[in-house]
């Protein structure tokens, strides 16, 4: 015979999972679902910060098509993905292989490579601005060796490249840790067998390591491509609030911030840009996952 407590639990069982999930669901609803739906709805209105909007259909999206700054933002965000993702997929893997070996003092290097990850992006940005300034350390060195000063922070393309370099530098440690976990699961016997068969270090990397961590590479590719497309801080800190010379380094998320914030912010139009960012990031994720699935079959 069941005790009263057990029977009470049984009676309540159907609702129990929901009760346990309720705090999480509430947080997701309040801070993710509601803002997301709100953005989606606002994208079809002419809402401003202090003025409730009217429904305007696809007007915001039509305006986007004729907005030069939107295309500049789309170009820069896409370039960011193209420039940053390959580096963040390959370099942390090489770094992880380097620090995977258990040799004395290796913990120091692992920690050192991870340090940029925990550093504040604002601090990192300011340090790099100082380094790459017209009169900064890098330019002083270049001048000393006779190369001359380079306008890292005044040329639109160099600015974008510099921001990409900061993103890669800051992200290396994070993805290195992910790869370290994956590498730990690669059976040592595979490497030994390949070595016995005469495979050199490069051959072993291509035929043993890469296939073994392929799913991790896909994960890193997906994560870094979404993060790269949504880049804001690095470009904002290095190119300034106006988005570089003549705004030529503006990214889509910077455009959202610039358009939609402040007392005269165009919330409806900024929401439309946000929807585009959302669609592109989802598409990027699907592309990466689909490529992975195709490789598997």
């Amino acid at each position: 015979m069941a005790t009263p407590t057990v029977s009470r639990i049984r009676r309540q069982l159907p609702t129990s999972p929901w009760l346990f999930a309720a705090p999480g669901l509430l947080i997701i609803g309040a801070f993710i679902l509601y803002p997301f739906l709100s953005t989606l709805v606002n994208a079809f209105t002419d809402r401003r910060t202090l003025i409730p909007g009217e429904f305007v259909g696809l007007a915001n999206f039509r305006e986007l098509l004729g907005d030069d700054m939107f295309w500049i933002g789309l170009r820069n965000s896409t370039l960011y993905v193209v420039g940053v993702v390959p580096a963040l997929v390959i370099l942390p893997l090489l770094l992880a292989m380097l620090v995977q070996k258990n040799i004395p003092g290796i913990t120091f290097f692992r920690s050192a490579f991870y340090t940029p990850v925990v550093a504040s992006i604002v601090v990192v940005g300011l340090i790099w601005v100082w380094l790459l300034d017209e009169r900064g350390l890098v330019n002083s060195l270049l001048e000393t060796i006779g190369v001359g000063r380079i306008g890292f922070l005044s040329d639109q393309w160099l600015l974008l490249l510099s921001a990409m370099a900061v993103t890669v530098w800051k992200g290396l440690g994070y993805y290195m840790i992910i790869y370290l976990a994956a590498l730990a699961n690669v059976p040592r016997e595979l490497h030994e067998a390949a070595a016995v068969d005469g495979a050199g270090a490069i051959r072993r990397f291509v035929t043993v390591t890469v296939p073994a961590v392929r799913s991790t590479m896909v994960l890193v590719g997906a994560l870094s491509s979404v993060a790269a497309f949504k880049v804001f801080s690095e470009v904002y800190l290095m190119a300034g609030p106006s988005g570089g010379p003549a705004g030529e380094d503006t990214t889509l998320v910077m455009l959202v911030q610039r358009t939609g914030t402040g007392l005269t912010g165009r919330v409806g139009y900024a929401s439309a840009i946000s929807v585009v960012v959302f669609v592109v990031t989802v598409a990027l994720m699907l592309l990466v996952l689909r490529a992975d699935r195709r490789d598997e079959t």
């Binding site: 159907p14 609702t15 929901w18 609803g29 679902l33 509601y34 739906l37 709100s38 989606l40 709805v41 606002n42 209105t45 809402r47 401003r48 910060t49 202090l50 003025i51 409730p52 909007g53 009217e54 429904f55 300034d133 017209e134 009169r135 306008g151 922070l153 005044s154 600015l159 190119a239 300034g240 609030p241 106006s242 988005g243 570089g244 010379p245 003549a246 705004g247 610039r258 358009t259 914030t261 402040g262 007392l263 005269t264 912010g265 165009r266």
Partner: protein, 430 residues
């Protein structure tokens, strides 16, 4: 109890309907413009990055106010400088705007248009005569009738220059440039003598630079911009010449006031605008620069220097209008502005305060020299930045100016495009 499909559908509908409801008309907080009642109740006062340095001063002002008006309680909140406009807009949109808010004219304009700033001509017109006419007018918004904030402190400043750099370039460090033409000539010479390594200016021209140069910024009706006139094109053409000669810092296109200030500190640029407050920083942070610091008047072609105005606004939806108006006036009255001016290098906007010996007598130090000169120039200074000139408009102008300097557009094309973009934004503001 299993969750039914109907319940899930209802939850989804609520999620969709909630944001939709935000598209309706704004809520009416139901404040009153009548400030004649008894001064009592709890109010909130928000300042703009002042707690760190002036905590004791404001706590003293609040304590005195509460003592003068028993039954009142002032809660003081301070917001950081970064993102201040965003904080106000979030509060305004969410209906949580404090009762009394520290604002600048460009912040008060959208709040006034949205009906969130109390018209002080109606609610507190009797205090108007206590303030300088220009300062009172600085919180009037074209397209509306009224004044939407008490004027608070003013600021202006001289142009600092590095005497050592002037001497190295063969310029007369004791005869600094006084006019725009002289500045441009000195800048070109500096760039030539230093092979482009030292620029004279670090910032691209802003809307206030166009104003100081004598450009008509808005049309007479106040419903359109006009800084693309011949005078505006002339100024931008001069800056293009400076940029090509590296007399304008190559990083000027992305500079902020902070970054150009740092460039002046490191000797990368020879001239920079500032205020009396900067002198103390030079003395403390860069003593070598302080030894070589030169001070000259702000350059202007109009005879009026530029001034920055701070204001104190009363939330039109406050439930405590008499207390909020009384406190906003209390903070900005002559006595308190004067005592605040003695805490920090700012200037009162109250009539007659600038005639106080504190602002008219020099004691031989650079600080008093700058203070006295600034106070004198403030008497007929102008806040050149139009109150309707939003952050988005500033970015549009800046980007078009950058295109002209890079040679991607002619100065005329760039200013025409900037005016067109700013006019569009102005119309969208409503």
């Amino acid at each position: 109890m299993p969750i039914s499909r109907r319940a899930l559908a209802a939850a989804f509908a609520v999620c969709v309907a909630l944001p939709l409801s935000a598209c309706g008309s704004g809520g009416d907080g139901g404040g009153t413009a009548d400030a004649s009642g008894k001064v009592e109740g709890d109010i909130t006062f928000q300042t703009w990055n002042l707690r760190a340095n002036f905590k004791d001063y404001f706590e003293g002002v609040i304590a005195d106010f509460e003592k003068k008006y028993p039954g009142t309680k002032v809660k003081w909140v301070d917001q950081p400088a970064e993102g201040y406009a965003d904080k106000i807009s979030a509060d305004a949109a969410g209906g949580t705007l404090p009762d009394v808010v520290n604002v600048s004219p460009d912040l008060v304009a959208p709040l006034a248009k949205a009906g969130l700033a109390l018209d002080l001509d109606k609610a507190a017109g009797k205090y108007k005569k206590e303030y300088l006419d220009g300062a009172w007018a600085s919180h009037q918004v074209p397209g509306t009738q009224g004044t939407y904030a008490f004027p608070w402190y003013l600021n202006t400043g001289p142009l600092f220059y590095n005497k050592a750099l002037f001497k190295e370039a063969g310029l007369d460090a004791d005869q600094p440039p006084k006019t725009y033409d002289e500045v441009f000539d000195a800048a070109l010479k500096m760039a030539k003598e230093t092979d482009g390594k030292v620029a004279t200016l670090a910032n691209v021209p802003t809307i206030e630079d166009f104003g100081r140069y004598g450009v008509e910024l808005m049309n007479k009706q106040g419903n359109g911009f006009s800084f693309n006139d011949a005078k505006g094109v002339e100024l931008l053409t001069k800056y293009k010449e400076l940029y090509d000669a590296k007399a304008l810092d190559p990083q000027a296109l992305t500079a902020t006031p902070e970054s150009s200030g740092k460039k002046f500190l490191t000797g990368a640029v020879a001239m920079n605008p500032g205020s009396a407050l900067d002198l103390g920083n030079f003395k403390k942070q860069v003593p070598n620069l302080y030894k070589n610091i030169g001070i000259t008047d702000q350059i202007t072609s109009t005879g009026h220097v530029n001034m920055y105005v701070m204001g104190v606004m009363v939330n039109a939806q406050t439930k405590r209008t008499p207390a909020a108006v009384a406190f906003a006036h209390y903070v900005t009255d002559a006595e308190h502005q004067m005592s605040f001016a003695k805490q920090v290098a700012i200037f009162p906007s109250t009539a007659g305060s600038l005639d106080d010996p504190y602002f008219t007598k020099e004691d031989g130090t650079d600080e008093t020299r700058v203070r006295v000169a600034a106070a004198k120039s403030l008497k007929n200074a102008v806040n050149y930045t139009p109150v309707l000139f939003s952050e988005q408009m500033k970015t549009e102008l800046r980007n078009e100016v950058a295109k002209a300097l890079q040679g991607k557009e002619s100065p005329k094309e760039a200013l025409d495009n900037a005016v067109k973009a700013c006019d569009t934004l102005l119309q969208q503001q409503g």
